[in-house]
Amino acid sequence: MITLTHFLVVSACIFCIGLYTVIAKRNAIMILIGIELMINAAILNFVAFSKYDKINYGGQVFALFAIVLAAASVAVGLAIILNVYRHYKTINPDNITDLRD
């Protein structure tokens, strides 16, 4: 029997791996991957709790919304990364220090 705790432990593992990626990595694409891992862990929690909610289906509906939000954030984030590379010739966030030209 798979209980709720199984899902919660797996999603905690995935979330912490994503957190490590965001903190430790030095290029912007890997940081974006870390953010995606964290969003996926949150979606797993939504879906696991939604099993007990047949009346409203709230968890599954908002898991779908979270997937759409993640897709939008990746599209905008990659466009920004490419533009930043064109300006600074690097995507290491350490070296990007100005907001203006």
Partner: protein, 182 residues
């Protein structure tokens, strides 16, 4: 141990193991392709929570859209970017590896401690749903119900999210256009 539990553990090990490999690999292209496996096995885990439509959407949107977009952005940018990504000398973003490892493990310990304290006492709505039998069962027609919910109860968030997606896509196309040379 029955087949369901065995498959759940297999998917969980696959997801966590490939996520760990994504983090530890030096080569960004390999890490991107390994990220496929993580997302596929996460979709498998969604199936065990009886959310078939969410699992299919995960495969279509993430594996079919987001990852292809990442790989395109990675490959279409010029050669120096690729070389720059693989050459990881220089300073770290903010913290050295062992400090961020410590931070992540500490956060994990906090979550596990919270789970231990939680002690399986469920919130009221869950208890009442279990008592009245309103739990999703494997032979329910999920997609039918989800479609009805989207168009009745959740129609306002649905419209907001569609406008938001349109705005984000227009913004991304505007940001990544070619500058006019003058």
């Amino acid at each position: 141990m029955n087949l369901e539990v065995f498959l759940f553990y297999a998917f969980a090990v696959l997801a966590i193991g490939s996520a760990l490999l994504v983090v530890s690999l030096k080569n960004t292209a390999r890490a991107l392709f390994l990220f496929f496996i993580t997302l596929f096995s996460m979709a498998g885990l969604f199936l065990f929570a009886l959310a078939d439509f969410v699992a299919i959407t995960q495969i279509m949107v993430y594996v079919g859209g987001v990852l292809i977009l990442m790989i395109f952005a990675f490959m279409l940018s010029n050669k120096e970017l690729l070389a720059d990504l693989q050459n990881i000398s220089g300073s770290f973003i903010s913290l050295p590896n062992w400090q961020s490892l410590l931070l992540a493990l500490g956060f994990f310990a906090v979550i596990l401690l919270g789970l231990k304290e939680w002690n399986n006492d469920m919130p009221d709505w869950m208890l009442s749903n279990i008592k009245s039998g309103d739990i999703i069962s494997p032979n329910d027609n999920n997609i039918h119900q989800l479609g009805i919910k989207f168009m009745t109860q959740y129609v306002l968030p649905f419209e907001v999210i569609s406008i938001f997606l349109l705005m984000a896509l227009i913004g991304a196309a505007h940001l990544s256009r070619k500058e006019d040379t003058q």
